[in-house]
Amino acid sequence: MKRPQSLGGWLKVVLPWVLLAALLLLPAASPSDNLIRLLFVTAVWTTTSLGWNLLGGMAGQVSFGFAVFFGLGAYTTALLMHAGHSPYFGFIGGGAVAVLASFLIGLPTFRLRGPYFVIATIGVTEAVRVIMNNVDITGGASGYRIIEDKPFNPLEHYYTAIAAVAFAVLVSTLIANSKFGIALRAIKQDEDAAADLGVNPYTSKLWVHAIAAALTGIAGGIYARRAAFFYPGDVFAFQTGITILLMPVIGGIGTVWGAVLGGIVIGMVEEQLVVKFPNLHLMIYGALLIVIILLEPDGLLGLLRRLFRLFRRKREDSGSPDAEQVLWGRGGVEGRKL
């Protein structure tokens, strides 16, 4: 591993660990129950955001259907817990079922060029929700209840969610720095060129979709266990898929920390927005999406970088734009092919 050269580089290495330590030690400071709950929700959302970012940000495949994995994770966990298994086994089962579902969507659509994948992801949420509304063993449209024979322990849920998000960050960073990650970015930029260099776009997309689905399924299971009650119109809502997509786009698509930033913003802000502007909050997201795509494709992270660069240029006039790009990597959506 290279030694970081600049202040920014050091921050990049140190900050995640500081953040993780703070989150782990936080319960010692006896925070309010609401803060713990909010952080739990944020951690669950951020996990799904990181999952989406692997597929959408790194490989450039937009999916509107992540609610399917989230919901399947929730239902699988619930059913496994109902059958007497440990919840942690349930989370893994939820991830596994989500992976299977990802293959079902990916196998027919990734083989083809063009917008087929994104079209299929819009349909799949509707289809699965309708089916789940009519399936008897999960209670159909009236939902499913998880019953645990022990007292409700918010901290256990909190730590599970933190573990999940830490795992998602780890997986994302490993993939971003691996040959696989380079292959994914190559696919995003030019599928033909990537194929010429020996990358198999079909299998690469299929696998990254599976990994993303697994993370989302696990998050869904963790969410379901704490919520204890959920129904298809909630976990399989098109809206859930939208929220999962918005986080990495708002934070900064294609970068691990952008996805985390987006998850934190939405996790913390979503509830307030929904309460204050019940009908307006999606419109705000829509407008934000338009502004981000047209003006700052790198999202909030891009905005921060721009500020940081401005600040640095005043102090010391060093570093060419090229160096900046190497240092920070590139995110953004401009001109990226599907």
């Binding site: 994104v118 299929a120 819009i122 999406l289 338009i290 047209l294 494709p297």
Partner: protein, 297 residues
């Protein structure tokens, strides 16, 4: 079930196919020329329905006339949207991440603006036509379906003439076939794109108005038809206008006769299943079947 009931269903399916074709054709021309998957199509459909409803309730304009008025209004609206947003997108010959997210964001804005204006109650357009029907032997056909079908077919025919006989139609076809060659021979890419986006939006508004006469609608109205439009244009081979008609007929038949075996609430699952089957078996659309035969002959 006897044969007259099957005939009844068949007629209903064909009448539905007319509206479905008008609904999907706007999306097809936009995809064909600009390679943009217009997710805001759902928003335009919904706006079309409310536009016709407002004209009907405030000015007592007949809904069919209202849908025709929607054509020029939405044409201008589409050109405005293109000028404001779409033209800034990077050009590409495959759909980009940016174009998908931009159109999706715009759909969210339209949808929620509609929630603000009209609330989330279900609306419907009721005219004397709605409840009367034509009786032919044992088969009764609601008049409104007939009128809507006629309006849709007339508009499709006009579009076909524009497509085949005018300079604008020729530039559109050139851009669909080969954007680079089209630009070399002097097709104005920017202008044709703007007009095409206007045309696609106009048809979305028009079809939305027609759909609003057949079904009840809310600001979330377009979403169920977005998937159907996709299925139709994938069946039709993504960028052919005549393929759209064929795709619309197939989807309408599958949906109408699917009700015999499955509860009506399963229809989104049915369209999705159809989509997946087509993608696996005939990824280039139904028209590829005929093209192959012609080539072989």
């Amino acid at each position: 079930m006897d044969s007259s009931e099957y005939l009844d269903l068949l007629i209903k399916a064909l009448l539905l196919a007319g509206v479905y074709a008008a609904m999907a054709v706007g999306m097809t021309v936009i995809y064909g020329v600009m390679k943009i998957v217009n997710l805001a199509h759902a928003g335009f459909l919904m706006l079309g329905a409310y536009f016709v409803m407002e004209l009907f309730q405030r000015f007592h304009i007949d809904p069919i006339l209202g849908a025709v008025i929607a054509l020029p209004v939405f044409f201008l609206f589409g050109m405005l949207v293109h000028w404001l947003l779409v033209r800034w997108l990077p050009k590409s010959d495959t759909p980009t991440l940016a174009s998908l997210l931009l159109m999706f964001g715009f759909w969210l804005v339209l949808q929620n603006a509609a929630y603000l204006i009209w609330g989330n109650d279900d609306q419907s357009i009721l005219t004397p036509l709605t409840l009367s029907s034509v009786q032919i032997g044992e088969i009764s056909i609601p008049k409104v379906n007939l009128v809507v079908f006629a309006a849709a077919v007339i508009c499709m025919v006009i579009l076909q003439v524009v497509f085949n006989r005018t300079w604008f139609g020729r530039s559109m076809r050139a851009l669909i076939q080969n954007p680079y060659a089209a630009k070399i021979v002097g097709v104005d890419d920017e202008r044709t794109s703007r007009l095409t986006f206007g045309l696609g939006t106009a048809f979305a508004g028009f079809a939305g108005g027609l759909l609003g006469m057949l079904f009840s609608f809310s600001p979330d109205f377009g979403r169920q038809f977005l998937l159907r439009s996709f299925v139709i244009i994938v069946l039709g081979g993504l960028d052919s206008v005549s393929g759209v008609a064929l795709g619309a007929i197939v989807l309408a038949l599958v949906e109408t006769f699917g009700i015999l075996k499955l509860p009506a609430s399963y229809s989104p699952a049915l369209s999705f299943a159809l989509l997946v089957i087509v993608l696996v078996i005939l990824p280039k659309g139904l028209t590829s079947l005929f093209n192959k035969k012609w080539k072989a002959a």
